[in-house]
Amino acid sequence: MSKSLKDILLPVAGGTALVIALAVFAANRDYGQSKIESLQSQVATARAEVETVKATTASELEAKIAEVQAAAAARVASGANLTAPAPAVEGAYGIGRPAHPEEIAAWDVDVLPDGRGLPEGSGDVYTGEELFVEKCGSCHGDFAEGVDNWPVLAGGFDTLADEDPVKTVGSYWPHLSTAWDYIHRSMPFGEAGTLTADETYAIVAYIMYSNDMVDDEFVLSNENFLEVEMHNAEGFVIDDRPELEYAKWRAEPCMENCKDEVAVTMRSVFLVETPPEGGSESLMNDATIEGLPTFTAAGPSFIPEATAKPTPAAVQTTTEEKADAGGDDALIASGEKVFKKCKACHQVGEGAKNRSGPHLNGLMGRTFGAVDGFKYSNAFKDAHDEGRVWDEASFAEFLAKPKDYMKGTKMSFGGLKKASDVEALAAYLAAEGAE
């Protein structure tokens, strides 16, 4: 270990090279000694390739920090800081411990636009399509067209100047590395970090295919990664508000007679009510600007007869009345709302399929872990073998704190805090998922 550590404790130039080399074995989540040895040779190679070396000199750092400290001290003097700036000591405090190479390899997996950080590997469009449909399609659509409010990943070319630009990997993203990095680290939603390097290459290849960037024979690999041209690579400018806006808007503002007359040109599209149980209800506002006064320095042109909108109290009563009158229907409707927290991973109702969670049709009375074709965690497999059955009690206990009730469940959901939500959800699943 100390031998490999020596290579980790490189001067700065080596640090850059390290990123390349370490990511190679990080992809497979395999931190064995043989990997570390191969890493060492790669570090040596990569180090030789680094062109410019910018060594930190102690004096440079001290000068910079002294500058920052002085500025902070000035803020303290002005009464702005709550505490005096933290002192700067000579050298390091010696707190913390050296990072192990395996640790850096496990966490330092980001990929840069110039390809640094990409592990060896490859994937083709066909494999990518299969993986995409299985792992990504429930949210992004089988053709990367996006489901509901989930992101659209394909198409949208030449829409960036339109009223509602469609910003996809093809039409908008300036670097392919961003897609690879994000998919590899943060996707699939609810199962992040489970894709291998080859799977990631394949999924990215399929997304490129969906964007007509490549044909169906295409194979993406670390070898040809930098050859890909992104449609919108040149579409970004660095923040130019200082030049374009600040110069104009740093001026003494007008205080009197700033306009001749002011009229309302648009009213709120949505009235947003705030029910006592939380969240909000958006209702279309049908009020028009007819009959509203204009304003001058003399005040409003006239005082219109007020048409007060329904107060929140009135809306509250309506909600309660509905709940009273509706009975089961209201409970089911309320359960449908709760189900929004589940539907990223679970389906229920006609044609429901397994997604990242099993389908929930016929849940009550079903044995734990009993849906065909779903890969359950060991916790659920064990429960299945024990013959445990979903009923109101187990459902409620599980949903209150899933990870406490089923230690080792793959379900990445914190739980429902309110018993009333659990009850409503059970009613909704029973109604929607009846078999």
Binding site: L9, G15, T16, V68, R75, A80, A84, A86, A88, A92, R97, P98, A99, I104, D108, D110, L112, D114, D148, N149, W150, L160, Y172, W173, P174, T178, D181, S186, F189, A192, G193, F236, V237, I238, D239, R241, E245, A251, P253, E256, N257, C258, E261, M266, S268, V269, V272, P276, S280, S282, N285, F295, P300, P304, E305, A306, P312, K341, S412, F413
Partner: protein
């Protein structure tokens, strides 16, 4: 014994609540105001007779039940799933400047995680002499500082580009909170690891949650006022705010304030991660986009009156109140207009000198009962004046999502009901 007490208490309370409600109704109607003595005064009330809650009834107290409407709220249709979503601080109902953690807006990309301090690790690597790993206790051994800063999501007011959309200050301006943070300056950790701090270097920061949200921060900012924070408003960060450790990037967009901070990497270029290319970039009318728009420009909003805070008292003395902030430093002045920007009056500011923190403003005034078009306009220490919606649209078009810092207008009718509007 206690059961009996409760029974008596409940039935009596039930009766009295009804009476109080009737009284309030009469007051609202106005004419009955002076008609006879108030039973709340002339009759013995429960709370003046029976004992209240004991000291340990709520080991960690929640707001009183009567304030249960003052909560974070989301707008469900804005996002596909509450796991990757945002909600809004009830700024309309708060005063002063500090946002309690429990009602401070949340934005998660893969949900809030419940990590133990014991399981916390922070790595610093890349262009450093000594790649290091810290645990939570290590961080508390470094000299630390306290600062109050606002954290605003770049998308705050984003819905309003296309026109007046959501009726409520909570929904138009509630993606913001303001807390007193305790933390270690990032520069202290950079120095500990012997980082290359030359000006062309970047500090890439990454979270431990499933989204592993990562952003690149230029070295100059990293050395300036960025904090690795573990307390907010005196107590541990709440789970939804990144317990046990989050990054605080004063004045810059909230997405960079990485929660559950697990890694700091010094690099020779920006990573151009998903959150700094496909998101948090601004598309303008001609289809080009701005990137690296980190600073939150000066902005203000009147929180009361506002759609959720109508004027209930009729004409007479009143306080118009709101919040102002700037990512460039201190707020130096806030002006308020009651006529849609024809005439402006300068408001009274709360505590001055807090840079990159919320500033409370008050206009102590008298309402004549006529309709108003209420606006506020902030100025910061750089002399920047908060722009109108028209000024912003002239520069950027209507396709942008982020960084809408326009002047907000509330139309207040003669009944005191306020509505989100746009004006000429």
């Amino acid at each position: 014994m206690s059961d009996k007490t409760n029974d008596r208490s409940t039935s009596r309370r039930g009766f009295l609540t009804g009476a109080a409600a009737a009284g309030a109704g009469a007051l609202a109607a106005g004419s009955a105001r002076a008609n006879g003595p108030d039973p709340l005064i002339t009759e013995l009330q429960d709370w003046a007779s029976y004992t209240g809650a004991g000291v340990d009834e709520t080991p960690y107290g929640m707001p009183i039940s009567h304030e249960s409407h003052v909560v974070r709220r989301n707008v469900e249709w804005l996002t596909a799933s509450p796991i990757s979503s945002i909600n809004f601080t009830p700024i309309h109902a708060l005063d002063g400047t500090i946002t309690p953690q429990g009602c401070a807006f949340e934005r998660h990309h893969s949900g809030a995680i419940e990590m133990r301090k014991e399981d916390y690790r922070l790595m610093i690597n890349g262009l450093v002499d000594r790649p290091l790993v810290f645990n939570y206790d290590d961080l508390e051994r470094f000299p630390r500082e306290n600062h109050v800063y606002f954290c605003e999501c770049a998308a705050n007011t984003g819905m309003e580009w296309a026109g007046a959309q959501l009726n409520g200050a909570q929904f138009t301006h509630g993606m913001i909170h303001n807390m007193e943070y305790t933390g270690v300056p990032l520069r202290t950790l950079l120095r500990e690891a012997g980082a290359d701090i030359s000006a062309d270097k970047w500090v890439y920061v990454e979270g431990a949650d499933a989204s592993s949200n990562g952003r690149s921060i230029p070295m100059e900012k990293a050395l300036d006022d960025v904090l690795v924070a573990f307390k907010a408003n005196g107590e541990a960060l709440r789970m939804e705010h990144g317990y046990p450790v989050r990054l605080v990037v004063p004045g810059w967009e909230g997405n960079m304030w990485v929660k559950w901070l697990r890694r700091i990497e010094i690099a020779d270029r920006a990573v151009e991660s998903r959150e700094e290319t496909s998101k948090y970039t601004d598309v303008y009318e001609d289809g080009t986009a701005r990137k690296w728009t980190w600073v939150m420009d000066a902005k203000s909003v009147i929180t009361s009156p506002s759609p959720q805070m109508p004027i209930k008292h009729g004409a007479g003395p009143m306080v118009i109140s709101g919040l102002a902030w700037s990512g460039h430093g201190q707020i130096t002045r806030v002006d308020v207009s009651k006529d849609g920007g024809v005439t402006w009056e300068t408001a009274r500011l709360g505590k001055q000198g807090d840079a990159k923190a919320l500033t409370r403003f008050y206009l102590d005034t008298k309402w004549d009962g006529a309709p108003m078009l209420l606006q506020s306009r902030a100025m910061d220490e750089t002399g920047y004046v908060q722009p109108t919606k028209d000024q912003l649209r002239a520069e950027r078009g209507e396709n942008a999502v982020y960084h809408n810092n326009c002047i907000q207008t509330w139309y207040v009718n003669a009944e005191g009901v306020a509505e989100n509007v746009e004006v000429s």
